[in-house]
Symmetry: C2
Subunit: 707 residues, 2 copies
């Protein structure tokens, strides 16, 4: 037993940033900062010697000396960006400690060598940073509230960032050689252990969940928490307890690690690479299994939650499904939220006595039946719970300007969310709203709860389009205006609606629809609009939007620097058009027969990209009802790379005289069409970088089918 | 002898287009048109049979049937362009007769086959055109005066065009087989012949000439006649007579055609190809030389002017120079004008009795001592006179919108001017202002007069820049504004002058000057401005402008269609800066030592095109006086094709944070510079086609050298 003096000081649980008393806010923030900085330094006191700082705990991550310095440098970097400070404290040290945090992959080893500073140097550097941040908190001008755009957001970000590393460093220490660590009075594990309770399934009725934080929230949040996500969750069953070491042992003893059928492809690759035969923190010993904790090994506490990566958790579920005949799997993020709502446990994070969370009890897990939450145990705390859900951005997601790569690199379908927090998750980490995601082979203080459900919903797309052309077109169709030039597809549709007068508006065809904006705009006026493009990649953007997803893309600002953008139909008040559009991949020069009976056909920026424009124009009347209208808009940029010279419609001398594309259009379309009105130039702008744009005029003409 | 009835009707000599009586103008134009159309048709009556229309007179040009139809089709094509008519008369015939007029080269044979209409069909077609044009002249709305932009200009153009073909077709008939031609009462040659007079040299004192027609002139002119050219002409001597057949015989008999030393390279190539041994119209016969006229051969009239191409005339001069020891050559265009001025013969063309011109006397040449003009004979008329001058555009040259390829294809340094006209030159052809140029190997009714002079002036550049990048930059620097964006180099200089305040303005350096506009703009304010660019082709544009020449370039409108543009310093009120600039080719990353002691250095759109931008920035202070100012403007468009990734100044994450180019500039320049003022974006637009533009923002920053 420890005495009262041995216990670590109380650790604040987070902070309300909406106070209206600046002095009170300074006091609160100072305590929040100091306690975090202290607790982080005390964590490194569990290292037995200086060598422990420099030897890799695992080959995939930097040695601990990096993390010791990194959280301090992070303050400096972010404070520079919000101009709370003007100069670096130590450019050399800060260059060493700036980057390299990203979890590396087991299949992506990095053998770079670093010239690390000494532990004493880093301690001295941390003291300088501590003094600087403390002085800022005490003296820098402060207006309230502190929100997303506030310069002090960088201070809170620095603190929450250090709390994340408090946990991830504790994992590295747990993965270090036993000889490099030592017990510490502030980091004492739970001593209760015994046989595990039988697990059982609890029924959860169908219901809906709403996720996403509002920017007006008084609590700090990372970029990925903001926005909104609503979902209906079908009825399912969930295990009352987290899976214990004892329950997982059945899987190990059933040969689960050597049965490829239980493992998904990515899990099999991991297994082939690591030859794992049991959970990573399990230690086989002559007298049975033992468990590695942060600073010691103990006889296996069978009633503690097992700790696994996603692949192991998933394999357990597949084994259990096979043996039980039930659709066992991990919960989704929505289902975890539904559990929390159903159990009425949303506020659990703020109650110190109520969960093994926030370092409130132990420096380790504890029995899975210690903290009851409604019908369940450990809905939060003890260990993180893997989900089936790769992290994705909520509607309205936005990167934070001073940390644009906190989440975006993980929007790749390869980083799964863990929910609930562990015994060491503090501050933002411990909140139900927080959304941490890791590569699926990664280890944290993380285990799982399983569910039984036949349904597994499609996860919204998380991919940010980075292909230059596709992202430029996304912005061109759905993004911002530049040089005060109105949105081009919308301007064309406005022109068209004027020109159409009171002709029928049943079916319209947007040929060469690219990203599809005009297709949606036309659907404001027509019953059905078909968008066709040669490029399936472009079509994909319209399809995703019509499905209700956001179009996410990066825009180059300068060199490799990008900004992250996102647009949904609702942003453009086009949500009601989604049911009236259809998109197809197709070739305007060789269109399938079913595309016919249109009242209006638009061909915008198309004809000078066709390999046989005349072939298209000679047959387009077959698609159009008699009396229907054809609209052609083009900058007439003829290039042999798209259209053989012999197939240009104009832009050359013919019989000795200038023969423009408009002459060519009249000649080819004359057989079935009459021109309507005068040609007019419609401008458009395509953004290439923050400074560089294409600014083009597309000549719009209307042609009525008369024959 | 012919009777009065046999004589052709009187042939109007040209027309004053500035009358104020529309009915009188209609009468005059009708007579001008009808007489020209008649005379042209009568020319073809010298053909002996229909076969004569279809066999090539010379392989390098179309058969005569083409020319018979072509002048009629030309009316249709040009009247369509000025909208005096709306429809073609006969699309099939007009497609056949539209193009192919361009003289082809002896080294550029074209063996295309044509499906020619019958002579009767062409006659019927000509009758339709005649009726259409006559009706237009009688009935179309007419406001006076008829000038360059007037729709009726197309009518006058059609008539003058046919008068040109009257002459060129007469040459083809003269080159046709004798069996294919027959004498005609309207086309009777001169019958006077005898021994030639001795030629002698007449001294012309130095003087100046002014060439170029004004757009307000009441006479029709082709595009190349307009604008202005002033020149000082050094004293020279000129032969009193055109070179006669007799005088040329000495050269032939001296073996001139087989002596390569007398021939220029291009002349030697022509000689190798043709194996010519005497003038083209000379016919060797058993009883001595004979001369081919249009419809007959006659015994050699020794006192008529010899007819040669430029190469033969030039070889004669080189032979004569070699044998006389004097600098004998052909006159330049300026010298021919000086002759005319000196002899007071500018108005000679209007006087029917005064020259063998305008078909006023014969359908052939006549003796070289028949028509005296002051101290000379045949300053105009008899045969054309080759000059040393390749045709080039006068200052202010502009293409005519309905005939943009009348002259521009001949601005290639390979087409030499002929002056003075021949016995068949009528209307515009007969005017001293007219400027006809042909390939130097080409035959017309053309001979020469020689001059003796040590000087041969540089001919102004005639080249139209068609290279995409160079012509786009010419327009970018010196051309028009688009989207209301002010001229970029000028805007930068205005910004710079503001920023410089009252600092010294002795020497400025425009580094990466490209086409040089900012160099000239800076020279409004500095005593000396150095423009340096990596590209000698760009430098060439500034050098030409500083030399007083115009920058001529084509701009793509659409596909292959271009417009012709020209700019001089005077157009931009920069003519006074020419003496204060110097241009050098150089590498900003490795500048020669002499470029130093500047008060101001501008580097616009440069740094992101350098292969080692830091190397440039680290040493640029060495070029700048202490207290001097450096201006950098750049869109920061970093591309690995210009700058290796490792050498970018910014535009990437550094130590985990966004590091923009401005950060990079501060870091590199900090050692010697302090930033002045705030960065500002200066827009620029580069025109690619009539519809397509690059629209870019260049961030301008100022840096004062303080160390």
């Amino acid at each position: 037993m420890t005495t009262a003096d041995d216990r670590p000081p109380a650790f604040p649980r987070g902070i309300n940033l909406h106070g209206d008393d600046p002095q009170a806010m300074r006091r609160q923030l100072r305590a929040y900062f100091t306690s975090t900085f202290d607790r982080y330094e005390s964590l490194f006191e569990t290292l037995a010697c200086d060598a422990a700082y420099y030897e890799h705990a695992i080959p995939l991550r930097h040695p601990l000396i990096f993390y010791f310095g990194h959280t301090a440098t992070f303050f400096v970097n972010k404070l520079l960006l919000t101009h709370l400070i003007d100069e670096r404290l130590d450019p050399r040290i800060e260059s060493v400690f700036a980057v390299g945090v990203d979890e590396m992959s087991w299949d992506d080893l990095n053998e770079e060598r670093y010239d690390w500073p000494s532990v004493a140097e880093v301690k001295a550097y941390r003291a300088k940073v501590r003094a600087m941040v403390t002085r800022l908190i005490d003296e820098a001008p402060l207006s309230l509230p502190i929100d997303w755009n506030h310069p002090w957001w960088a201070i809170v970000m620095g603190i929450e960032h250090e709390r994340i590393h408090l946990e991830t460093s504790s994992v590295l220490i747990r993965q270090h050689k036993l000889a490099y660590v030592k017990p510490h009075p502030h980091w004492r594990p739970c001593t209760e252990a015994g046989a595990a309770p039988d697990n059982s399934l609890v029924k959860i009725p169908a219901g809906s969940v709403v996720l996403g934080k509002d920017k007006s929230s008084p609590r700090y949040g990372w970029d990925n928490e903001y926005g909104r996500h609503e979902a209906d969750v079908a009825a399912f069953q969930a295990s009352r307890h987290l899976v214990s070491n004892q329950e997982f042992l059945t899987f190990v003893e059933a040969g689960g690690y050597s049965h490829p059928g239980y493992w998904e492809d990515e899990g099999k690759e991991w297994l082939d690479f690591t030859h794992a035969e049991h959970p990573s923190f399990w230690v086989p010993a002559s007298n049975g299994w033992r468990l590695r904790l942060m600073t010691e090994e103990i006889p296996m506490p069978w009633n503690w939650p097992v700790e696994t990566n996603y692949h192991e958790a998933k394999a357990f579920c597949r084994w259990k499904a096979a043996s039980s005949g039930q659709p066992v799997r991990l919960p989704t993020e929505d289902e975890w939220q539904r559990l929390l709502d159903h159990a009425g446990q949303r506020e659990v994070a703020d109650r110190a006595d109520h969960a093994n969370l926030q370092l409130a009890h132990f420096a380790s897990s504890c029995p899975v039946d210690r903290f009851a939450h409604g019908d369940f145990f450990d809905l939060t705390g003890n260990v993180w719970q893997w989900t089936e859900t790769p992290i994705y951005p909520f509607e309205g997601f936005d990167v934070h300007p001073i940390y644009d790569d906190f989440t975006t690199p993980t929007f790749d379908g390869r980083h799964n969310l863990m929910k609930g927090g562990s015994w060491i998750s503090c501050g933002n980490e411990a909140e139900p709203e927080s959304r941490y995601a890791f590569r699926r082979h990664f280890f944290q203080h993380a285990g799982f709860r399983y569910v039984v459900s036949k349904e597994l919903k499609h996860v919204p797309g998380s991919h940010y389009e980075t292909d230059k052309l596709l992202s430029e077109y996304a912005e061109f169709h759905y993004g911002d205006s530049y040089f005060d030039v109105p949105n081009f597809p919308k301007a064309l549709v406005d022109l068209a609606i004027d020109a159409l007068g009171d002709t029928p508006r049943r079916k319209a065809l947007d040929l060469g629809c690219a990203s599809g904006r005009a297709t949606f705009e036309l659907a404001r006026h027509f019953d059905l609009v078909t968008g066709i493009d040669f490029s399936a990649r472009f079509i994909g953007q319209g399809v995703a939007l019509a499905r209700g997803e956001s179009l996410r893309y990066t825009l180059v600002d300068e060199g490799e620097l990008v900004q992250y953008k996102s647009r949904s139909l609702a942003d453009l008040d086009l949500q009601d058009t989604a049911g009236k559009v259809e998109f197809f991949q197709g070739d305007a020069c060789n269109l399938k027969p079913q595309f016919t009976d249109y009242d209006f056909i638009m061909a915008a920026n198309l004809i000078d990209r066709l390999y046989q424009p005349a072939r298209f124009l000679e047959s387009v009347h077959e698609r159009l009802n008699l009396g229907g209208m054809l609209m052609i808009a083009s900058p007439y940029t003829w290039l042999t790379e798209h259209t053989p010279r012999a197939d240009w419609l104009g832009g050359f001398k013919k019989d000795g005289e200038n023969f423009g594309t408009l002459n060519g259009l009249k000649a080819v379309l004359g057989a079935h069409f009459e021109p309507v009105g005068e040609p007019c130039d419609v401008p458009f702008v395509i953004r290439e970088t923050r400074h560089k744009f294409q600014h083009t005029l597309s000549e719009a003409t209307f042609w009525k089918r008369v024959r």
